[in-house]
Amino acid sequence: MSTASKPISNTRSASGIPSARLITWWVIASEILIFGGLIASYVMHRIGHPEWRAAAEHTNTYAGAFNTFVLLTSSLFAVLAFKAADSQNGPRAAKLLRLTSLGGFLFLIIKGFEWTHDIHEGFVLSSGGFWSYYYTVAGLHGLHVLAGAIIMLFVAADAAKNQELQRVECVGLYWHFVDIIWIFLFPLLYIAK
């Protein structure tokens, strides 16, 4: 693998930002609008329907808080991986990225237990307005976590061989963005009752 076999277009950087990072920013921008549209819809319904509070009481604040902690910590590992990659320490970056990915999977496992509990209580996707939004918003976010955690393993495999280290930063940017979405979902779904 050498940069020579990539198209020149990929290596040029007329804007001053490398293409890989630039496309990550554009992806984040478009994701803001996808999540933004969904969250805006949720918020306007939530304000208009005070009776949803009764349903919101059933969400487990501590599970949500612990998941926030897991994501925040994984974000820390992601940014430390970037720091390692920045100093050309591929193996260390790979190790940290795998920890980040582990955090992502841990998040999903906790989410799985939480949802199993909710479903046993009788709250499913179609149990009413709040639950529909609860599962849809968190589910869409969960899919992003899953995708990020898997992509990160591939990036880590390359990084371990000191290849494509610039990708460590990009996948990290994406991960922090997913983290920020959760930072807002946590109060929206678990605290505002």
Binding site: N10, R12, A14, S30, G37, S41, H45
Partner: protein, 558 residues
Amino acid sequence: MNTQVLHAEPGFFRKYCWSTDHKVIAMQYMFTGLIMALIGGYLAYVFRMQLGFPNQSVPGFGIVTPGRYNAVVTMHGSIMIFWVAMPLLIAAFGNFLIPLMIGCDDMAFPRINRLSYQIFLLSIVVLIASFFVKGGAFGGAWTAYPPLSASGAYNLTPEGATMWLLAVALEFVAFLLGGINFTVTTMNGRAPGMKMFDIPIVVWMIVLASIIFMASVGPLIAGAIMLLFDQTMATGFYDPTRGGDPLLWQHLFWFFGHPEVYVVLLPAMGIVAEIITVFARKKLFGYKTILYTAWSTGVLSFVVWAHHQFVAGIDPRMANIFTVTTLLISIPIAEMVFLYIATLYGGSIRLHTPMLWALAFIAEFMIGGVTGIFLGASGTDIYLHDTYFVIAHFHYTFVPIAIIAMFAGLTFWYPKMFGRMLNETLGKIHFWGTVISFNVIFIPLFMTGVAGDQRRVYSYAQFAEQMRPALQHLRTISTVALLVMLAFQVVFVINFFWSMRHGKRAEDNPWLSNTLEWTVSSPPPHGNFAELPTVYRGPYEYGLPGRALDYWPQDAPN
């Protein structure tokens, strides 16, 4: 690793089906888009026949039942916008032109580009398959307003509705990937020396369109997920009895739906700009002003969406805000058209086929533009909303965009794409046949619209006031004109394939143009440029006094 090896000649499969070459992907998009245009045209033929000659068996289709009529109308709208206008104008021309025009060897992310086309193809497979499921294709109009679209009990096409929604969602993903790639490529991949205002307008416009698309489609993707759950998981996002709201979908849809108009308009404007400058041998009048108008159109397009919903049950006070913003957006668009017309002043105009198409675009688009004012003004929209006036209006914008400007671009860049010239005589026959019959189709529809014909109705038998004989004559005229227009497309198909083998061999720069794509051989080789160019000036230096040639290519040092 598995990145592709450049400049090596790959096998047939890798070359045409699994290629990451932007030109091959452009051709894939183009041929797919043209095939979809044929399907869309066939559907138009079916429902126009039913309207022009009611209740007779349509040759090549059969009896048009109400259910089939709804499905045919829905699919015509969806296909023409999502699977014809967008792939042809943005994806095909964007893929072909952007790397060539900015002087670069490929897209910034060739494999994402390939993935974009593959997802697009998958969306078509899902869409076409929906014609053959139980209940047939979705019949709830391309706007898919719930609760009609949300419940199979209402639309009677439960599987078709879900597949339609999936297909549209996949198409969105494909164009998000493609559009972001275009944007990054243009921002980063430009040849040395090409500054922001040296980029050809068509590239600017495709990139702006991609950005507008990206910014407008997000909420609708979210909305589509919710509608999908309403259809399949018994949720109630749009169900008023369960805390949902059907208006929410309308807002999410039109928040995307209106910018979408500009998503396809801007690339068409870009194509026309390239062509009129080359064939008038003129510098574009006010290059920067055109860009500013395009930007302001893009921004304004996000605050006008509810003019599609004036009578849809939104609060009537909101309509006043949206009337003002809607009329506001007419200002930059009018100015852009003025600038195009002004470009012709002092030119030396050659009326080759591409130029005819480009000029026809300007002339016809103006009709579409001014008739929009009737609909943007809330007072008249009360009467005209959901009548054939609306249909005639937006076809006077979409046909110039997706058909006329597309043909303009196709005839203009055909020599570069295939290395041969198109036949001029056949091209002109096709041009006049298409443009004249296009007007004969839609001018009668303006009249039936103001005479009260409502949309999406397979028969007016129940409406005494619409059964006036004069109206039926107008509908029949329109249908016959459509048949004529479709027949003239045969001329194009013959010209297209005949010229590909037997046309005159094209030189590198047959139209004596300035932009970089004309400096490589026709068709361009894999990797485009033998030596990557450097840019010294803007793209429209024509008729410069004191020079031997009346054009000055961007990459010529002096």
